[in-house]
């Protein structure tokens, strides 16, 4: 979905007619369980990390550094002799937390702001949307970088930074929903009957807005995970010796020639997880409401 900074939503054209529609959904549906399986696997791995990981992810073995993948270490060891597989497993936690929490922050903050803008209208609307436009005009990585530098390195900083970067998307979405619901008959009726704004918000706006928000959130989680990896790759984000897939890839960059497994182990995990999440996101979108594609 592409949006211009001036609040003008440019939507992808809706898919063709019913026949193509149904067929497409069928094709997608086949992939959706695959995606769900990947996501489930990721969650299980994250939760069961202490049990699944063959070694302590922090245990160093300088004498056995840069060992090739083999029986003892399925994905080899890194530059201080730590087991790559164990670190990849533990890294799943970081990535999932980063993805879900940052999107949760963005959805909550964006949702509130969007509701405020949509409901209050006028001045407040203008201010909030200008603010959102400002955030969107920033190259996202630079914004996250700057925020990370201010908030201090570490997972919390990354979560907040990513939350800020993704907030405008949700704000815009929520505002759109509010605007469309605001003028509906039943809302007018409720207001005529004296219902307070909060009640209307809770009873009518929220349930209707929930769907597109959930759709957007499911799509955003995958990108948030990628973004966290990118930030860790640049050196912000997760603090050592904890492992995040992005920071592992960054640390392994200098050893690409001698020990490529340090990069491609976490790289593969990252890629597979993001693909799986995308499948799930697409399925949710198609399932919940195929109309909502913009």
């Amino acid at each position: 979905m592409a949006t211009s900074t001036l609040g003008f939503a440019v939507s992808e054209p809706a898919v063709g007619d019913r026949r193509w529609d149904a067929l497409r959904r069928a094709a997608r549906a086949r992939l959706a369980p695959l995606g769900a399986a990947v996501l489930l696997a990721a969650v299980v791995v994250a939760l069961a990390a202490p049990v699944l990981a063959p070694y302590d992810p922090l245990a160093q073995d300088l004498g056995n550094a840069l060992a090739r993948p083999g029986r003892a270490h399925w994905l080899g060891t890194d530059n201080v002799g730590r087991d790559v597989l164990s670190r990849v497993i533990w890294g799943t936690r970081v990535s999932l937390v980063a993805g879900f929490v940052s999107v949760a922050i963005a959805a909550a903050a964006g949702g509130l702001l969007g509701m405020l803008a949509g409901y209050a209208g006028g001045r407040a609307d203008g201010v909030v949307m200008r603010l959102m436009d400002a955030v969107l005009s920033f190259p996202p990585l630079v914004l996250a970088l700057a925020l990370g530098a201010v908030l201090g390195a570490g997972l919390t900083g990354v979560l907040l930074a990513l939350g800020v970067v993704y907030t405008p998307t949700f704000a815009r979405l929520m505002r759109g929903q509010v605007l469309s619901v605001k003028t509906r008959d039943y809302v007018e009726a409720a207001r005529a009957l004296g219902a307070s704004g909060w009640w209307i918000a809770g009873r009518h706006v929220l349930p209707n807005a929930a769907t597109p928000i959930v759709v957007q959130a499911s799509l955003s989680v995958a990108f948030a995970i990628l973004a966290e990896a990118s930030l860790s790759f640049l050196g912000l984000g997760i603090q050592p010796p904890a492992a995040s897939w992005g920071s592992m890839i960054n640390a392994g960059r200098g050893y690409l020639q001698q020990a490529p497994w340090i990069v491609f182990g976490p790289g593969a995990a990252l890629f597979v997880t993001v693909v799986g999440l995308n499948f799930v996101g697409d399925a949710i979108r198609d399932g919940l409401d195929p109309r909502l594609r913009g």
Binding site: L62, N79, V80, A153, P241, A251, R253
Partner: protein, 514 residues
């Protein structure tokens, strides 16, 4: 294929003199130097300015040592030998008299003489943006005795000054250039120096070009190269591969992790240059937990320096016993580096009131080697019952936190100076306000020794003083010293005649291309 021996032999042949430490007589077997060619050099960043008085960055110096010349210069053993000054004397501890070489001209044609020298010292002291002020702080006045003699009057005796003058503080810029275009000098150094090469052009973010000075005063040896072209390549892997693929001829540093592999590459010659640097961690004496000496010592005993140098630095460096590197005449090999001893850790912990261990945060730089070292130290401390948290910050924040003394243990990497004083004085002398004494150590006996080391002239006696200092440092621990890195430099096979000086500066006067 050029063997290591051939390479070193060619160095001896080109410089026209026996290189210290090599067997004389091998010079004859080397090829004769050829004139011509462009040497392509890759450094990790660009120079910042072409004005030595305003320069604060290490990379600048690399270019300076080819286009500018200091009054005195270093030999391979860090001894001081004549540069633009052909001799010097000290009639009394607070006076230095330099006899300057005659007949030397700057690249713009003006004469280098005593007036020019005085002009330079005055500028270093008075120019508002001069970064050399601290280095020449002990110089009171400079007098012109005659056209080729200057008298430098010092405020206090300072045995380390001569070594300081082998670098930027001793470099002579043409007064005419400064007077006519001082502001532009930072970007354009045409005509400004006296060195074997002269400045041609600098295209920012792209390259810096210098060319042979046809009227160079020193007729012995080079310069042979037609031109030298510097290119900034920030990424280490890219830089190395550019060398290996033949895109460039020289790089200033090979990462420890690449050294072993590069040494097997037949296209490339690696020279291990022991540096003057000392890499350490400063401990904050002003706040817990390291305001307690026993706890500082506990951490020092818990660290395994040998494992770090072997596992992290891959033996591209020496375990440190203090701030003075093995390349220095003041290095005392009778003082061993602190050895790991878990029993002593326990004892110190108990003495410091933390028998069950304690927790602290280490602030360090966000680059791979530093991160790796921090992780290894963290694991070593964990074994000893001490919990260390790692806080990664970027370079600017690191400096800022250090200056503000906002840390418990912080990484400190000093590139080093030719005189041991440069690795010692400003870090451990009691200094109120902002300084490099980040730990805040204030030890009267240490202060007295540091001052003595500057007053005393004889090297042997200074060496004894520095040994005393090192012993106190190992006890008081304002810093925990880790390693004196080796700076491996790599060249393509075609490069001949390079002479490595421990200050790490790449001087291309006698270098030629096959």
């Amino acid at each position: 294929m050029v063997t290591r021996r051939d390479f070193v032999k060619s160095c001896a042949g080109a410089s026209g003199a026996a290189v210290v430490g090599l067997r004389p007589g091998t010079a004859a077997a080397a090829d004769a130097p050829k004139k011509g060619g462009t040497l392509r050099v890759g450094f990790y960043i660009e120079a910042a300015t072409m004005d030595p008085h305003l320069s604060g960055s290490k990379v600048d110096r690399q270019v300076y040592h080819n286009i500018y010349e200091p009054l005195v210069t270093l030999d391979t053993r860090l001894g001081i030998k004549p540069g633009l000054a052909e001799s010097w004397s000290q009639p009394d501890p607070k006076t230095l008299v330099f006899k300057l070489r005659r007949g030397i001209k700057f690249h713009d044609g003006t004469d280098f003489n005593a007036e020019a020298a005085k002009f330079n010292f005055d500028r270093m002291k008075t120019e508002p943006k001069s970064i050399r002020k601290g280095e020449v702080a002990n110089i009171d006045t400079v007098e012109v005795v005659d056209a080729a003699t200057i008298k430098v009057n010092l405020k206090k005796a300072d045995a380390s000054l001569l070594a300081t003058l082998t670098d930027r503080a001793g470099m002579m810029i043409s007064p005419k250039v400064v007077q006519e275009r001082a502001v532009e000098l930072g970007r354009n150094a045409k005509g400004a120096g006296t060195g074997p090469f002269e400045f041609v052009e600098w295209v920012k973010d792209d390259h810096l070009l210098i060319k042979r000075n046809e009227s160079y005063w020193n007729k012995q040896g080079g310069p042979y190269l037609e031109r030298v072209r510097y290119r900034p390549i920030p990424d280490d892997t890219v830089k190395l591969q550019s060398l290996q693929s033949g895109e460039i001829d020289v790089i200033d540093y090979v990462q420890p992790r690449d050294v072993a592999a590069v040494k097997t590459d037949k296209n490339v010659m690696v020279l291990d240059v022991p540096s003057l640097a000392d890499f350490a961690y400063q401990l904050n004496h002003a706040r817990p937990p390291f305001n307690v000496k026993a706890l500082r010592q506990a951490v020092a005993y818990a660290i395994d320096l040998e494992q770090i140098v072997k596992g992290v630095w891959l033996n591209v460096g020496y375990p440190a016993n203090g701030p003075i590197p093995p390349t220095s005449w003041a290095y005392d090999k009778a003082i061993p580096p602190i050895k790991r001893d878990l029993a002593k850790v326990k004892a110190r912990l108990a003495e410091g009131g933390k028998p069950g261990g304690f927790e602290f945060t280490m602030t360090t730089n966000n680059i791979p080697l530093s991160v790796q070292e921090a992780e290894v130290i963290q694991a070593q401390l964990r074994e000893a019952g001490i919990t260390m948290k790692i806080r990664l910050v970027d370079a600017s924040t690191l400096i800022s936190d250090g200056n503000a003394k906002n840390f418990e243990m912080i990484s400190f990497q000093w590139s080093g100076r030719p005189d041991p004083d440069g690795n010692v004085y400003q870090f451990f002398k009691t200094t109120p306000g902002t300084s490099f004494n980040w730990s805040g150590i204030s030890h009267p006996q240490l202060d007295a020794l540091l001052d003595r080391s500057r007053e005393v002239g004889a090297q042997a006696e200074r060496k004894k003083i520095f040994s005393e200092v090192t012993k106190i440092l190992q006890d008081e621990l304002p810093m925990i010293f880790i390693v004196h890195p080796i700076e491996p430099k790599a060249f393509s096979q075609r490069v001949q005649g390079y002479e490595a000086i421990p200050d790490g500066m790449m001087r291309f006067k006698d270098v030629w291309l096959k």
